[in-house]
């Protein structure tokens, strides 16, 4: 009988990433604050979709593990991180229960469905118990950072007031458990950034930006690294000739470029075609998606700019 199993090669960019100027600055910024600040803080990392946040989180987790190895050898219950993704459920609002459960599962906590807020008075397991369990878990396992991805889900609150309370609550988690809370999110999180200044000094914000207009030369360096990677794996490619196209279509987002290149590589495999400008043109990113990204980035940049430099009226 003929073997019909589809043979799929692993992507050339799987488990591979290159550091680039914007990436390094943000990564160092996070590490400096996690290990340098004496008071627990909320660190907000805001950036557009596909800029490389997921890679940054993976790298951050590896780096925390490397730095915490000695401490983890000394204390068998110490953790180097706890990680969860924030989730918004349309009919129920922000899923706090899901977030707490995911954090506790990541910390390998026991009997998550039986958490109670206090030993006395006796209560049935509830959300308050889960929140208390997260606090206690962070306090006792003492990870240097509690990483929450997809922080934009917090912004799905009904009102500004509830958003403010959400941020207050996240800050209090960090305060009570003496742990830095690092929240990664897209430009929806920019709204939270506006509140953070009003809240207190323990909120730190950084912008993990795409390469904007005027930074083509720097982006070309990144494209060169991807090209070198493909050549190292003996994949026929010529990306330097398509750097301007990549820059334009991906809005200077390295993550989006990576995804586009992977897609082109997959398509090219079947046709036995090199990854070059013509191959990229043949597998274009939908125009609607590009336009949406551009609009999102423009509004996000404006929000961030107004946060750092004041509103446009003030700037005039």
């Amino acid at each position: 009988m003929k073997d019909v199993t589809l043979q799929v090669e692993r992507s050339p960019f799987a488990d591979w990433a290159c550091g680039h100027p914007f990436y390094d600055v943000v990564f160092n910024w996070i590490i400096q604050r996690i290990f340098g600040l004496s008071e627990p803080s909320v660190l907000l990392v805001v950036g557009p979709t596909g800029v490389g946040k997921t890679t940054l989180i993976a790298h951050l987790i590896q780096e925390l593990a490397r730095r915490m190895t000695a401490a983890m050898h000394a204390d068998p219950s110490r953790l180097h991180k706890v990680y969860a993704e924030a989730v918004y459920i349309p009919t129920r609002g922000f899923d706090w229960e899901g977030l707490f459960t995911e954090l506790l599962e990541d910390a390998n906590e026991i009997l998550i469905d039986r958490k109670v807020p206090a030993a006395w008075p006796p209560e049935k397991p509830n959300l308050k118990g889960l929140a208390s369990a997260v606090n206690k878990m962070l306090l006792h396992h003492a990870p240097p950072a509690c990483i929450i991805d997809e922080g934009g889900s917090f912004l799905e609150s009904d009102s500004d007031e509830s958003l403010k309370r959400t941020l207050e609550y996240l800050k209090s988690i960090g305060n009570r458990s003496r742990t830095h809370v690092v929240i990664f999110g897209d430009y929806r999180l920019a709204k939270m950034v506006q509140f953070s200044g009003q809240l207190n000094r323990r909120c730190h914000v950084t912008h993990f930006a795409n390469y904007p207009e005027g930074y083509e030369a720097q982006f070309k360096l990144v494209v060169g690294s991807f090209d070198a990677r493909l050549r190292a794996l003996k994949i026929e490619a010529d990306l330097t000739g398509a750097a301007d196209l990549l820059f334009k279509e991906t809005c200077g987002c390295v993550g989006l470029m990576k995804r586009w290149l992977e897609n082109t590589w997959l398509e090219g495999q079947q046709l036995n075609r090199a990854i070059d400008r013509s191959a990229l043109v043949a597998t274009p990113i939908p125009v609607g998606a590009v336009l949406k990204w551009r609009a999102e980035i423009a509004s996000g940049h404006e929000a961030i700019r107004s946060f750092f430099e004041g509103p446009s009226s003030h700037r005039k």
């Binding site: 990433a17 100027p21 068998p76």
Partner: protein, 491 residues
């Protein structure tokens, strides 16, 4: 506001690869590696309290922690995975948590789950290894409200889990065992059990405020001292200082009472705390451990510290009489007529002296009063050690005179029967009776039985019956003694 906007570039830099290779993470413990409390204050925490803190650190009720998590490790704990009647079984197991050997098993399990190696020290297991000593864990809870009030993080001390510890050595107050509000005892395993709250009404167990003045009642004085001894001792065993402490108890094999005449002098003074009426030998004979309470009493009376009592081979020189606290003696003198120790000793010595002079008879009351100078209504005549000795002598006297009476009758019948045979007469009862020195005494069954036996042997031609009877030495000695003193029993 602490915010930055990354704008710096180094365009000519070669972009490095990011190292995303997985980092080897050491194995993590399943439970939080909590540090046991009380190491600094020399009052270690009990395992029950540690398990409570552990369940709280995991935001769990203690009941759930045991019933749904620890019970999942039945194989490690019991060597089987059979279904148990959960709540009922665990109720008793939790009560035994601070003791040994179940405490040791739970400590080992929690040690594996938390990554700690020192959890056995939170149980009585190290102290229970000491040969010949029995330490009973308490079935319920006991606590000092003032200690709990002073704690930054309240915890139950290990020595509170010992059944024989009744007081707080720090504040001098008896340990509480019931809630001050509802008056109910505290269960160790319940959905509401807590270190700091009443199981029933939730009233706090810690009482802020000044503790009362320590009382000078004998129970309190002894209780405070015993609690301090046990607390220090458990800390020492926890630290491994007494790891080889299994030789000492054998040195108590000699009769402590032999070194205790002067201690016995105050036996009734120390009655409430108990005196060494039972010797170590008695306990060892029965292959039982000496109860901790008794070891503490000996330690008090002999002036030998508890660790020394169990760690080194003691000689008589190690023992010295340790007087009771003056407050205790004064109180006893007021409340009851205390015998003068010298009188007790004199009476005891008089008994020994008179029984040595006449080993066949117990000394009579008039002889004792005359010899010791102690009045017969003196309380020394009711002291246990005197009564024990005099009862022993009286029992010996009763047994001896029964034996002496038998031999007296038998020897008289024997001598009379030989005279009748030599006279050529028939061995009749009347004839033999007439030949006896005291003919009237031939009326007992014993004499008749012996005569019947004699006649039977004689008719069968056994010549050995005609030989003189061999009387036991002690009976002959008594007859000589009687003849010399011209005294007879009852006459």
């Amino acid at each position: 506001m602490n915010s930055e906007h990354p704008t710096l570039f180094e365009p000519d830099r070669c972009l490095p690869e990011i190292d995303l290779s997985p980092v080897e993470i050491p194995p993590r413990s399943r439970l939080i590696c909590l540090k046991p409390l009380g190491g600094e204050t020399r009052e270690p925490e009990s395992l029950w309290s540690y398990a409570h803190r552990l369940s709280e650190a995991h935001a769990l009720c203690f009941f759930d922690f045991i019933l749904y998590f620890i019970s999942g490790y039945k194989m490690l704990l019991f060597g089987h995975d059979k279904k148990m009647v959960e709540t009922g079984s665990w109720k008793h197991l939790v009560m035994a948590m601070s003791g040994s050997p179940f405490g040791a098993r739970i400590a080992d399990l929690l040690g594996q789950l938390t990554g700690r190696t020192d959890l056995r020290n939170l149980t009585l297991a190290p102290a229970s290894k000491i040969e010949g000593l029995t330490i009973r864990p308490r079935a319920g809870q006991a606590w000092c409200p003032h200690c709990l009030a002073e704690d930054t993080e309240p915890y139950e001390r290990l020595h509170w889990a010992v059944a024989d510890v009744t007081h707080c050595h720090k504040h001098g107050v008896p340990l509480a065992q019931t809630c001050s509000q509802c008056g109910k005892g505290q269960k160790m395993f319940s959905a509401r059990s807590s270190v700091l709250r009443c199981v029933h009404c939730g009233h706090p167990k810690n009482h802020p405020g000044k503790p009362p003045e320590p009382s000078d009642l004998p129970e309190d004085v002894f209780g405070r001292w015993a609690s301090g001894e046990v607390a220090g001792w458990l800390h020492a065993t926890g630290c491994g200082e007494l790891a080889k402490a299994n030789i000492g108890i054998r040195s108590l094999n000699f009769d402590l009472c032999a070194s205790m005449p002067e201690i016995n002098g105050v036996t009734c003074l120390s009655e409430r705390i108990g005196a060494g009426r039972t010797t170590a030998r008695d306990w060892m004979k029965n292959n039982r451990g000496i109860p901790l309470k008794m070891a503490l009493r000996w330690s008090w009376l002999c002036g030998v510290g508890l660790p020394r009592l169990f760690t080194v081979v003691l000689s008589l020189r190690d023992f010295r009489y340790r007087p009771l606290p003056s407050a205790l003696i004064n109180r006893e003198q007021i409340t009851r007529k205390a015998p003068v120790p010298a009188d007790s000793a004199a009476l005891y010595l008089a008994v020994l002296k008179l029984s040595a002079a006449n080993p066949f008879m117990a000394p009579r009351l008039n002889a004792l009063t005359a010899s010791s100078g102690v009045h017969f209504k003196h309380p020394a005549f009711k002291e246990p050690h005197y009564l024990k000795l005099i009862h022993r002598l009286r029992e010996r006297e009763r047994i001896f005179f029964r034996k002496e009476r038998i031999w007296r009758e038998v020897s008289e019948v024997h001598a009379a029967a030989i005279k009748v045979v030599e006279g050529g007469h028939r061995l009749g009862r009347n004839r033999v009776g007439r030949e006896m020195e005291r003919p009237g005494c031939f009326c007992g069954q014993l004499a008749r039985a012996y005569l019947a036996w004699f006649k039977k042997r004689f008719r069968n031609g056994d010549e050995s019956v005609l030989r003189p009877k061999e009387i036991p030495l002690d009976v002959r000695a008594y007859w000589s003694f009687e003849k010399a003193a011209k005294t007879t029993k009852g006459g």
